[in-house]
């Protein structure tokens, strides 16, 4: 069952167009939303939640129009837009006291457990927290009202590797019951390698692909060869990097099958994204 359906989402800014963005988030799954800075990840998330007024499209949450039922839908969505940077002179306990009044399903026990798990002192002010701790506080608030869907925009940026790993464990725990889902935007692709079930890749305001994580990786191959072979295979390469001894590049899996003489290896998500972004310019400078 689809918990979130985004259909033909459109938003035009001077110099940028979010162009008919469509993808779904399945119940009980983690959807990784990837793309480079400025690709439209945050604009998509903000448009979905009506923070940005979309020019067109439709967003369904649990089958109902999210924009028409904004209040009810947002009660069942946990949202983290980076670190918690609001009311920095207020104490954590003051912010939590205000925030929890908006949720009938606020779970104080979970909130206290998360504070303790993240080593957050409720007596501290937001301004006294590090960047990573502010992200953790935002997560603690988002995870404490029994949300069915978590929408997280760059939640792991600013966190140390141990905290990031811990967070990914929490994400897996959340979706384990098959009823909760996570839409997770990031440019730290390694985080998604560890936890995402599905991948949606956005580039220049348009969705390149939205599929399950295995199919996403299986559709591509990393290839490498000699400099002399570059001319022959250049039309098949999505993107490549030339170096003193030859080149390394990305090909579609079906093209790689016919690439005789090249070394072929499975592609990881980060390489897929890097070489796809090189698509327009193809080559990077030889090093």
């Amino acid at each position: 069952m689809k918990i979130l359906e985004i259909k033909d989402l459109r938003k035009a800014y001077p110099g940028f167009l979010l162009d008919d963005v469509s993808f779904d988030v399945e119940e009980g799954s983690i959807m990784g939303f990837i793309g480079r800075n400025g690709a439209g990840k945050t604009t998509t998330i903000k448009s979905v939640l009506n923070l940005v007024h979309a020019d067109g499209g439709e967003v369904l949450f649990e089958g109902q129009d999210l924009w028409a039922n904004e209040t009810a839908c947002k009660k069942r969505i946990g949202l983290v837009l980076g670190e918690f940077n609001y009311y920095k002179r207020k104490k954590l306990k003051a912010i939590a006291a205000v925030t929890k009044q908006f949720y009938e399903d606020w779970d104080e026990e979970t909130y206290q457990a998360l504070l303790s798990r993240f080593s957050l002192d409720p007596e501290k002010k937001i301004s006294e927290l590090s960047q990573g701790m502010r992200v953790k506080f935002a997560l603690a608030l988002a995870l404490s009202h029994r949300a069915k869907l978590l929408i997280l925009d760059e939640p792991t940026s600013g966190l140390d590797p141990v905290s990031r790993d811990e967070l990914l464990d929490i994400f897996r725990d959340i979706i384990e019951d098959g009823e909760h889902s996570i839409l997770f935007s990031t440019h730290i692709i390694s985080d998604l390698e560890k936890c995402a079930d599905y991948i949606t890749y956005i580039k220049g305001g348009r969705i390149v692909v939205s599929t399950d994580a295995d199919s996403f990786k299986d559709a591509y191959r990393l290839v490498s060869g000699e400099t002399e072979q570059l001319g022959q295979f250049r039309p098949l390469l999505i993107g490549y990097r030339a170096h003193a001894f030859g080149f390394t590049g990305l090909m579609r899996a079906e093209d790689a099958e016919h690439a005789e003489g090249l070394k072929v290896a499975p592609a990881d998500m980060e390489s897929i994204m890097i070489y796809t972004e090189k698509e327009d310019g193809h080559e990077s400078a030889a090093e």
Partner: protein
């Protein structure tokens, strides 16, 4: 709405509100344009908007399970509550002054229902200009306040100027019907039946103008804020 209003008072309320509300004591100054004290309350409201903006309130609120329309309605109600508290304090000070300061106010409107009526219209002008102007962008509080302050001061100078003029004309011995009416029924403590009637009508009109203007301001603000991208 209760949760949103709680948020407004716990997070957005600027300490200046208490200081400026305390300036209601200016109503005890003999011969003073008392309407000025209401302008200070407008100033305090502007500080609240500015404080909320600097603390990223728009984004924090947008992440909560509320619509933009609900967020605007709560903020307007927050403004109305502060203004209502000020009006109650003005009423209390007027009642106190009627008993303890029998001298006529030569510096502007005398203590009475007229003062409350003028204050209501002053707040109505402020709300009608400041709120829609602010919610056009959701962050330009300074220019919204500047525009509203011009409107408020035109009204303030007009009211207090009219009262001072009527006082001066009556003291000069000239008998002009309009100024005599103002002097005997509007710019005075309401002690006669005629004065109570005139000031009562003025006060009722003030309430009507305040309600209509504030509702209109709220409606236009919601419409404008719907189009704003919360960044």
């Amino acid at each position: 709405m209760k949760a949103l209003l709680n948020k407004e008072f716990k997070l957005c309320l600027h300490p200046a509100v208490f200081i400026y509300l305390a300036l209601i004591l200016m109503l005890l100054i003999p011969n003073y344009p008392y309407l000025v004290s209401c302008f200070f309350v407008c100033n305090a409201i502007f500080f609240c908007f500015q404080q909320a903006r600097e603390n990223g309130d728009a984004m924090y609120t947008a992440m909560l399970p509320v619509s933009k329309a609900q967020a605007v309605r709560a903020r307007v109600l927050f403004v109305v509550i502060i203004q209502a508290i000020d009006l109650l304090l003005v009423a209390g000070m007027c009642a106190f002054a009627i008993v303890s300061m029998p001298e006529h106010n030569a510096g502007g409107t005398d203590h009475g229902l007229s003062l409350l009526a003028f204050a209501l219209v002053l707040f109505a002008i402020f709300n009608l200009i400041f709120l829609p102007s602010f919610y056009k962008t959701g962050y330009k509080a300074g220019s919204a306040f500047l525009k509203s302050a011009i409107g408020v001061w035109i009204w303030l100078v007009l009211c207090e100027g009219m009262m001072i003029a009527s006082n001066a004309v009556m003291e000069s011995g000239a008998d002009i019907a309009l100024f005599r009416f103002i002097h005997e029924n509007i710019d005075c403590m309401p002690k006669t039946a005629d004065a109570w009637t005139a000031q009562g009508i003025l006060f009722g009109t003030g309430i009507l103008i305040y309600v209509v203007c504030t509702l209109l301001a709220c409606r236009v603000s919601i419409k404008r804020y719907e189009k704003v991208s919360v960044q």
